[in-house]
C-alpha cells in the first residue's frame, strides 16, 4: 500500500511550518531540509494554499505560514485531499468496466470498508499531534526560531 509522494511532501511541508510557528519559511528551506526537489514542492505549496491550510505572506519577512492553528488541520483530511481520486485497486476506479467483474465482485465493498477504517484513524490526529516534539523537529530540520534582534548569539 502506497501513498503518493505528493501526499508525503504535503505532510512534510505542514510539519515544517508547524515545527516553528514563530517564523515564515521558503520553499527553498523546506526543500533543503528534506532533500527533495523545490520544483515538486511548488505544486504541493499551491495545493496546500488552495485547500486553506497554508498562507503566503508577501514582502519583507514574508514567506509561507500555516493558515490555521495546527490543531485545526486534520491529518485524514490532508491525506484524502492529497491522494485525490487515487483508490487502492483498479476496481475502485470511476469506470467499473476497467475490471470485467467489478459489477459482481464483492472486493470493491470490502476495500471500501478497509479504506474507510484507514482514514478513520487518520481523522483522529491533527498536525498538532505530529509535532508534539517541536524542539527536536526544529533541531533536525535546522529551523531556528526568530529571536529579538541583537540577542541571538549572546545566550
Amino acid at each position: 500500500m502506497k501513498l503518493t509522494h505528493f501526499t508525503d511532501y504535503s505532510l512534510r511541508v505542514l510539519i515544517f511550518l508547524a515545527a516553528e510557528p514563530t517564523r515564515r519559511a521558503t520553499i527553498a528551506e523546506v526543500a533543503e531540509a528534506f532533500d527533495v526537489s523545490a520544483h515538486h514542492l511548488t505544486k504541493v505549496v499551491h495545493f496546500l494554499g488552495k485547500e486553506g491550510w497554508l498562507a503566503n505572506v508577501r514582502g519583507k519577512g514574508g514567506g509561507m505560514e500555516l493558515a490555521l492553528p495546527p490543531q485545526h488541520i486534520v491529518v485524514g483530511r490532508v491525506v484524502r485531499a492529497a491522494e485525490g481520486a487515487d483508490l487502492p485497486a483498479e476496481c475502485f476506479g470511476d469506470d467499473p468496466d476497467h475490471c470485467p467483474i467489478a459489477r459482481v465482485c464483492r472486493l470493491r465493498g470490502v476495500f471500501k470498508e478497509a479504506v474507510d477504517a484507514f482514514y478513520a484513524v487518520l481523522d483522529r490526529y491533527t498536525l498538532a499531534d505530529l509535532v508534539q516534539n517541536r524542539a527536536a523537529l526544529g533541531r533536525v530540520l535546522g529551523i531556528q526560531a526568530l529571536e529579538p534582534r541583537g540577542v541571538a548569539g549572546r545566550a
Copy 2:
C-alpha cells in the same frame, strides 16, 4: 492510496479459481477473462503457489486449482503477502534515514495505526465472502462448469 497490480492480479486469480471450483484453470484462461498479460500472471501464480493458496495439477485435465477451501483463504493475508514490504510512505521504509525527521516525527506511528486498521478489516473476509455470487461471476468470466461428457449442449 494504491495497492500494486501484483496484489490486484493475485486476488483476481483466486477469485477466478473460487468462482468455479469444479474445474481447473489455465493462466491463458484467466489472462483472457481479465484482459491482462499472461506474463504478469505467471509470476502471480508462482507466488500464490509458494504461499500455499494455489496448486498446479499436471497432466491431462490438469491446471490450477485452489489449494485450500476458499473460506480458509483470508483476504488480509493475501494482500499483506502480495504487498510485501511496500508501506504507505517513505517514513515507513526499512531505512529511517530516508526521511530526515523519521526519528522524531510522529507520523510513522499514526500511519502504522491506520494501516493496521486497514488490514484488520481485510482480515475479517475470506475468499468465500468475495465469491458469494459465484454463478454471476462465472457468467461474467466465461467460466463453464464441467458437465458429464455428452450432456453439454443437450440442455
